[in-house]
Amino acid sequence: MKKVYGTAAEALDGLLSDGMLIAAGGFGLCGIPELLIDAIVESGIKDLTVASNNAGVDGFGLGKLLETKQIKKMMSSYVGENAEFMRQYLSGELELEFNPQGTLAERMRAGGAGIPGFYTQTGVGTQIAEGKEVKIFNGKEYILEEGIFADLAIVKAWKADTTGNAIFRKTARNFNPPAAMCGKICVMEVEEIVEPGELDPDHIHLPGIYVHRLIKGEHEKRIEQRTVRQKEAS
């Protein structure tokens, strides 16, 4: 069963359709599936719903899919770094479903774990709770949130073996595992592909069962906020 493909376009071949729900990994610009996003821009599919914590920035990451207006709706927790997003949203061109960050991550994990709904205290008494079922456990109010079952997951890992077993690096892990889990099909881009046996089985972050197709590519890995400190004189 070959999972390794040559290019992002090849890996996505036959998987894309208008109106589909895509879950994307990444936090800010960290750990985003750059190459797969570019290939989706190239494909021209439209009316997408995208579940992703952020919406990229103007001209990079999901920001590109916003510029081409291929996205109909975003499910996100924070979109503050994207002027084009703001413009489309305020003008009514784009739908936006705000999800608290933890609720979004848990909804993805739940979808992947066959859990259609769970209760959380997050958002009780706020706009987020409007229209949602409330239930009392131990005298406290909780709201029902539903699992996300995406048609396609696009994620980015550091290394994977050819069976799709993947490891992530530092905070680039973020939403990638839950996004991968909630996709009916998951396509992953990595910086390095190795043979089975080269990764320690105890250290796999995402088992290959969650990964259907795999590409290796060059990543820009743009930094959003470059903050540094000065070396003290020695």
């Binding site: 936090f27 997050t122 008494g125 530092k170 905070t171 959003e224 000065q230």
Partner: protein, 207 residues
């Protein structure tokens, strides 16, 4: 006279005890890390890290290592990384002892608003709603009034809420207040601020 940003951060750092796992929000809360001294505090970054270190030296930035404010940071010997579902599992599960957050408005019943201004500012709540719902203690650090001089410590919030009845303690440039039965209780006034000045700058009921 009143506390400046660094003095507010220093005061907030006094809330932290040895062994605590703590989440610091963006802005003044970030400065709290500079004032923990010898206390054994582990900082969580909700994008998937415990044991957040300082900013990197120039040239040592790593695109794969950022905090929840998307800033480049470093790791410590004690650091561990995990995914976002696990990260917010520990937040919702009450494992984080305290969150120190900024705010646009706080009300006397502990309501907190810090995520949007309808029609104007639509950035999103990020992890703030999860934090205020889940962590052991929510400490707000903010200026007592906005740039127009209006109190941000209110009877009721006017902006969409981040959490209902979630704030435990408010630290502002004018002093420290606790959310208690019936309103706010003055814990202390900032250097050179009188209780009268603090009361005058506060719309919330002070009990």
């Amino acid at each position: 006279m009143a506390w400046d940003r660094n003095q507010m951060a220093a005061r907030a750092a006094q809330e932290l005890d040895d062994g605590m796992y703590v989440n610091l929000g963006i802005g003044i809360p970030t400065l709290v890390a500079n004032y923990v001294g010898d206390k054994d505090i582990t900082l969580q970054s909700e994008n998937g890290m415990l044991g957040m270190g300082p900013f990197p030296f120039e040239g040592e930035e790593d695109a794969d290592l950022i905090n929840a404010g998307k800033q480049t940071i470093t790791e410590l010997p004690r650091t561990s990384y995990f995914d976002s579902a696990t990260s917010f599992g520990m937040i919702r599960g009450g494992k984080i002892a305290a969150a120190i957050l900024g705010a646009m408005e706080v009300a006397e019943n502990g309501d907190l608003a810090n995520w949007m201004i309808p029609g104007k500012l639509v950035k999103g709540m990020g992890g703030a709603m999860d934090l205020v719902a889940g962590v052991g203690k929510v400490i707000v650090v903010m200026d007592h009034t906005n740039k127009h001089g209006d109190s941000k410590v209110l009877k009721e919030c006017t902006l969409p809420l981040t959490g209902k009845g979630v704030v435990d303690r408010i630290i502002t440039n004018l002093g420290v207040l606790d959310v208690v039965e019936g309103g706010l209780k003055i814990v202390e006034c900032a250097d050179g601020v009188t209780e009268e000045e603090l009361r005058a700058a506060t719309l919330a009921t002070i009990v």
